[in-house]
Subunit: 118 residues, 2 copies
């Protein structure tokens, strides 16, 4: 797949991927992809990532059902970061919040401003 | 600064930071911060990053003038990614494009869809 040759995977064979909500524009999460995750994402139309802790590739939402349908996919100037525009089913965060970025800086602290969904 | 203790810097002492345009919602770039870059960003109100190639911390726009004023700053659930909501002066990308994510996937290729600004 010639798509892959433009991507600069790091020394661990991974590339960071940012997921942004197609509807709200909110940045939902950042995770890592290996080559196989990119292939599966393109092939299936659903976001796949690589878990560094579990050392395996996974489909986002495979257990929770909170999948990410791919609307658009971008590569940055250096070829070392991917941006996914997604249709998010349910909350993106494993804490059941809409986005993983739910802690906001206030002075020298992080304040949680978002509540988990039902 | 207690803000720093919640951030999980990687083995190289870095954390990825995503910059999103406060006005348009467009994701502009992803870069890395070390502890000093986080401190300087908070202290000055302008985005500072760490260049892995030049091995030094730098103020975004210090030579181009294309600075990023910090509107809001978020930390994700794992504490290992930062999201900056910024007021971007000029193009964010060193190619003089509005965003670094100017290559869009079409089938198995990346198509450049954005033109450099004057």
């Amino acid at each position: 797949m010639s798509l892959l040759t433009s991507i600069k995977f790091n020394e661990a064979g991974l590339v960071p991927a940012i997921a942004q909500d197609a509807e709200t524009g909110r940045v939902l999460m950042m995770a890592w992809m290996n080559e196989e995750a990119v292939r599966q994402t393109v092939k299936t139309g659903f976001a796949h990532y690589y878990s560094r802790s579990r050392k395996k590739q996974w489909k986002k939402g495979e257990s929770s059902g909170h999948v990410q349908g791919i609307e658009e996919m971008f590569l940055d100037c250096d070829g070392d970061t991917i941006l996914l525009i997604v249709n998010q089913t349910g909350p993106a965060c494993h804490t059941r919040r809409e986005s993983c970025f739910y802690r906001q800086r206030q002075d020298d602290r992080w304040i949680t401003f978002d509540e988990p969904q039902e």
